[in-house]
Amino acid sequence: MLQIACPHCGPRDENEFSCGGEAHIARPKQPDAISDAEWADYLFMRTNPKGALAERWCHTVGCRRWFNVERDTVTHTILRVYAMGAPRGGGGGA
């Protein structure tokens, strides 16, 4: 069970959180203006890297706030916790 440092509540067990999948996938501003393929890319395609991955997590049974977590998918080491909307910054991957 991961231990995740909620930016608002501090370190808590993983089962207090829910994972919202890969972060930094912006919703297209004008969905009608893009092709089916581009929309499908937003909807379905994820990078699934072996290594650093930026994810969105929500402290569901705590403060209910969303934030970003950079996690190593091999070791499950949490590399960084940062605010929703903040840029990803360093690290590999997309």
Binding site: Q3, G20, P31, I34, W39, L43, C58, W66, T75, M84
Partner: protein, 1003 residues
């Protein structure tokens, strides 16, 4: 029979003053306090304890610990009976009852041992090769194989025992309380760290407990006395928690550790009532110290599985720790110096050691020297090449071996036990579970802890450090380092002195040669699953190169012992057959649990009414006292129907539905999700999450909304009311309330953080009494004078606030039944009073409470969907014929773009229609598959399925909703529904069966 005829008169860590009576396979025996079931059986001369899984060969006690592959027992009888426990770990208590798990009708005469005679027909992969074709029959074969190969029985009754769960945090968790673990605990404890020290045995000390009375000393004290001192010091430290009888079974991410504490298992009937049987600990540790010791590696030789053949360390433990003779004439067979300790101790106890058979050509260490001095014959450069004896070993054939081959004639040595050792395998299981990488050391043929990614350190035998002095030194070092990393300064700790004899190098031998023709004499690698060296080689020949495939094909390590004694040997023999190095073949993945953990411990107290939270509405007590039959909807208990005396469900539902159509029905709708949404951008939020437009909804009006996922599929629906310009009350389906709230929060926090809007659940704060039927207005008029109820003043899809039945209420004129309906919302605490007031005032109208079943029927007559019943996450608004609610004008809303994807626009999608059976009395099964042509042979094309199906008393016939490919294009067509044993012809119709223009609910 002499009682405990193999018991020694003095010494050992048992209490001869406390006699314990027990039964094994129906016979009565006696043991002492301090015994395990296994040691007590050895004391009573019981050699045969079980049968192997596949060939049902007789098997005896093989080890003295958790690695035991043979001595598996069913403990206890009745509801608390537990299968597959290792007799070597079961502490003896008075009144214990146990039986072998894998033999029928008895351990001495086992009918399935016939398998052994035909063993050449049961090679590796036999089950797969023989039974996997034709595929349909595997299920039938499997049942017979399971019965034959049965591994104990689970109790049929509910487990009467209680299990606790607890959470803990610590600075340093230490797994294993042998010399290394104790030193680590002393180091970390003296530094002031919060320490948990867990050991699976009943007392700390590990291998020191198996030292003889005149054995090793630590700091000038006898080893066991040093252990007692250390334990006493640790017990006196406020921040140290000692957990004996506790197995560290799982090493998970971020130093999350699972422990299972056997609290009262060793007490039997004397267990105090207030204590749980077992307690599961979930520990988050800053630092972990692994001091899990080592497991002795068997030598693999021909006919190595007869009862009486055991690990040398186990023989020593039985002798020194439990005071029992493992045999009267014990042959020792080894490739290393450590087994000489067993030979020396046996010899000193007066047990005949006919020889030490040593695979090494010239053993010259100090331990062999001491054996020679004691007069024990050493057969250097020899191996055991075969054995004899049916229910126990009676002789060994010993021959010179060199370069992996028999190098001379064999001679026969009579013996009733063979104590053998192939070296020691560090117990790297937990390290590996925690994602540590293993490295292979050629010299000793061992896998050792390599790089770790978690905050842990290994010390002692599990780290490959076998000498006692090194164990103590490593324990001290890692204990101090762990404490330091957790923020605690240097401990005050001097390393105690030891005088252990130094060992000469071992010689790695994975397989002892035999002079018997191949195929005649089997050498077993995995005892529990009867895997022989021949099976391993066969797997290699058949192309199994991956160790994970090899394991599953041969079933090596797949038993309840998880291959503790067999995996490394299996891998080594596979590597040799493949001509590869052992590290290239690698080990199988170590997975939790380290040893089996009872399901009861995982469940803990979360059973029955504690399994999940139960939510009851404020009106629940009334439903209960009026005989409601409840159903679970999410976590809610909802009345399903209210049967009168002698009434079944169908009659009750019919009566309730007719009342709602002709008089007044009353429904407790408190469980519907309610979300309060406020803020300047509240309307805009609704615009984005619903398919229709909300900006122009007037205050005081309600609107139905359909919510889609971004994939365009229907996710939820419900009515939302505008309470004020910037204030809405959204209702959701009962089961989806939490999900919809989370959905709104997710979008407003992640994608639209600038929106000025807030939302909160209001489900629990309100009770909702829904009255429905032609007389609903008359009833409401009697309960309120606050607002005009005329259709013009209070039209359909609007709401009013005022006093109803004496309390403040929000009344919504909305309808799920298709009748004139009012939903009266009051503060939860007034719910029961308002319901009761409605019942009293409604009596003259024949007011009838109705449950979810009648509600579902009434809405189905109207063709109103239930999300999750008529939809399944693959259904768009168009599929439901609900394009009318999808705004064409709004530039965007969640899921909009997906509605124009090629896949959502294509023809051939399943779409909602109604179905009439040809016979109006036939009610279709929900979920029934629909086909166009019933005469086709399977596999035939399924074109849809029934989603809702009822008998409608209003129409006096059955009705059904169904999702069918291009359903609306098939109006009037006859299709066929598959029902058990028959097909039922059905006619496709519109999905609205009653009052299609909605005159009744708008009236």
């Amino acid at each position: 029979m002499k009682r405990q005829r193999q018991r020694l008169d003095v010494g050992a860590r048992i209490d001869r003053g406390q006699r314990l009576a027990f039964r094994f396979n129906g016979k009565s025996y006696e043991g002492f306090s301090g015994d395990t079931l296994a040691s007590a059986l050895v004391a009573n001369g019981v050699r045969l304890v079980g049968r192997s899984f596949k060939f049902h060969r007789p098997r005896g006690i093989y080890s003295a610990g958790m690695e035991e592959p043979n001595a598996l027992v069913q403990l206890g009888t009745g509801a608390a009976s537990e299968p597959n426990l290792r007799a070597t770990q079961v502490e003896l208590f008075d009144g214990l009852e146990a039986a072998s798990v894998n033999c029928w009708p008895s351990v001495n005469f086992d009918i399935w041992s016939l398998n052994d005679r035909v063993s050449s027909m049961l090679p590796a992969g036999f089950y797969y090769k023989t039974f996997m074709w034709p595929t349909g029959l595997w299920m039938r074969y499997e049942r017979a194989i399971r019965a034959m190969a049965g591994m104990g029985r689970t109790a049929r009754e509910a487990d009467p025992d209680r299990y606790d769960q607890t959470n803990a945090h610590c600075d340093v968790l230490i797994a294993g309380g042998g010399p290394a673990g104790l030193m680590a605990a002393l180091a970390a404890g003296r530094a002031g760290a919060r320490v948990i020290l867990a050991d699976e045995q009943n007392e700390f000390g590990g291998r020191l407990l198996s030292e003889p009375e005149d054995g090793e000393t630590i700091g000038g004290r006898l080893a066991v006395d040093w252990v007692a001192d250390a334990r006493a010091e640790l017990a006196g430290m406020a921040e140290v928690r000692l957990l004996p009888r506790t197995t560290v079974f799982g090493y998970y991410d971020h130093n999350f550790i699972g422990l299972i504490e056997r609290v009262t298992d060793h007490l039997g009937g004397a267990a105090p009532e207030h204590l749980p049987r077992q307690r599961m600990w979930r520990v988050r540790a800053r630092q972990v110290v692994l001091a899990t010791g080592a497991i002795e590696r068997p030598l693999i030789f021909a006919e190595n599985d007869r009862p009486g053949i055991m690990l040398a360390g186990a023989a020593r433990a039985y002798l020194n720790r439990y005071g029992v003779q493992p045999g009267e004439k014990v042959l020792v067979f080894t490739n290393n110096d450590d087994a000489y300790r067993t030979a020396l101790d046996l010899n000193a106890a007066g047990i005949v050691v006919p020889a030490v058979v040593d695979l090494r050509a010239d053993p010259q260490g100090s331990l062999p020297a001491r054996a020679r001095e004691a007069g024990i014959e050493i057969l250097a450069g020899h191996g055991v090449v075969g054995t004899k004896g049916r229910l126990r070993v009676t002789e060994a054939r010993v021959a010179p071996v060199s370069d992996g081959a028999v190098a001379g004639p064999a001679r026969t040595i009579s013996c009733d036990a063979i104590a053998m050792s192939g070296g020691w395998n560090p117990a790297v299981h937990l390290f590996s579970q925690g994602q540590g990488k293993l490295r292979f050391e050629e010299a000793r043929g061992v896998f050792l802890p390599g790089n770790t990614i978690q905050a842990n350190r290994s010390a002692g035998a599990c780290n490959g450090a076998f000498p006692l002095a090194v164990c103590l030194a490593e324990g001290t070092e890692v204990g101090a380092l762990a404490a330091a990393d957790a923020g605690f300064g240097a401990p005050v700790l001097a390393l105690p002195e030891t005088k252990e004899a130094e060992e000469a190098p071992m010689e790695v031998v994975w397989q002892v040669p035999s002079d018997r023709p191949p195929g005649k004499a089997r050498a077993f690698v995995d005892f529990q699953n009867d895997v022989t060296t021949k099976d391993v080689k066969l797997a290699a020949r058949e192309g199994y190169r991956s160790v994970e495939h090899f394991k599953r094909y041969t079933t090596t390590g797949m038993g309840t012992d998880q291959g503790k004694t067999s995996n490394i040997n299996g891998v080594a023999i596979l590597a040799s057959a493949l001509g590869e190095a052992i590290p290239a073949v690698g080990t199988t993945t170590f997975r939790p649990p380290y040893t089996p953990v009872s399901f009861g411990a995982f469940a803990g107290r979360e059973l029955h009414e504690f399994y999940a939270p139960i939510r009851r509405t404020p009106i629940h007590a009334w439903h209960e006292s009026h005989g409601a039959v409840f159903e679970d909807v999410g976590q809610w208990k909802r009345p399903r129907y209210y049967p009168r005396a002698g009434e079944g469900m169908h009659a009750a539902v019919r009566r309730e539905a007719i009342a709602a159509r002709s008089g007044i029905g009353i429904l407790d709708a408190s469980t519907l999700g309610k979300i309060d949404i406020q803020g300047a951008d509240a309307a805009e939020l609704l615009n984005r999450v619903y398919t229709n437009a909300w900006s122009k909804l007037e205050v005081g009006r309600c609107r139905y909304g359909l919510m889609l996922g971004e994939d365009g599929m229907v996710m939820d629906d419900g009515v939302t009311a505008r309470l004020a310009e910037d204030h809405f009350l959204m209702s959701t389906t009962t089961g989806n309330a939490a999900r919809v709230l989370a959905w709104l929060e997710e979008w407003t926090q992640t994608e639209w953080p600038d929106m000025k809007v807030h939302m909160a659940s209001a489900t629990e704060q309100w009770a909702t009494v829904s009255i429905s039927g032609p007389k609903a207005r008359n009833l409401l008029a009697e309960l309120t004078g606050d607002f005009d109820l005329s259709p013009d003043a209070f039209p359909f899809m609007s709401f009013r606030e005022g006093i109803v039945a004496g309390v403040s209420a929000r009344v919504f004129r909305i309808s799920f039944t298709g009748e004139l309906s009012f939903e009266v919302n009051v503060a939860a605490r007034h719910g029961l009073a308002v319901w009761t007031a409605c019942m009293t005032a409604g009596e003259k109208y024949g007011i009838t409470p109705f449950g979810t079943e009648a509600m579902h029927l009434l809405r189905a007559e109207k063709g109103f969907i239930i999300v999750g019943q008529d939809t399944d996450g693959t259904v768009t608004p168009a599929d439901l014929g609900m394009d009318w609610i999808v705004s064409k004008k709004k530039p965007d809303f969640l899921g909009k773009r997906s509605l124009s994807r090629a896949d959502t626009l294509r023809s051939g999608r399943k779409r909602l229609v109604g179905l009439f059976t040809e016979d109006p009395k036939t009610v279709l099964d929900e979920g029934a598959q629909i086909v166009a042509e019933p005469r086709d042979r399977p596999p035939m094309k399924m074109i849809g399925h029934v989603t809702s199906s009822y008998f409608s008393p209003t129409l006096d016939r059955s009705i059904a909703l169904a999702l069918i490919e291009d359903g609306p294009d098939r109006m009037g067509q006859t299709l066929h529904a598959s029902m058990p044993g028959r097909t039922v012809p059905v006619r496709v119709t519109e999905p609205v069966f009653f009052d299609p223009d909605g005159e009744r609910m708008r009236g």
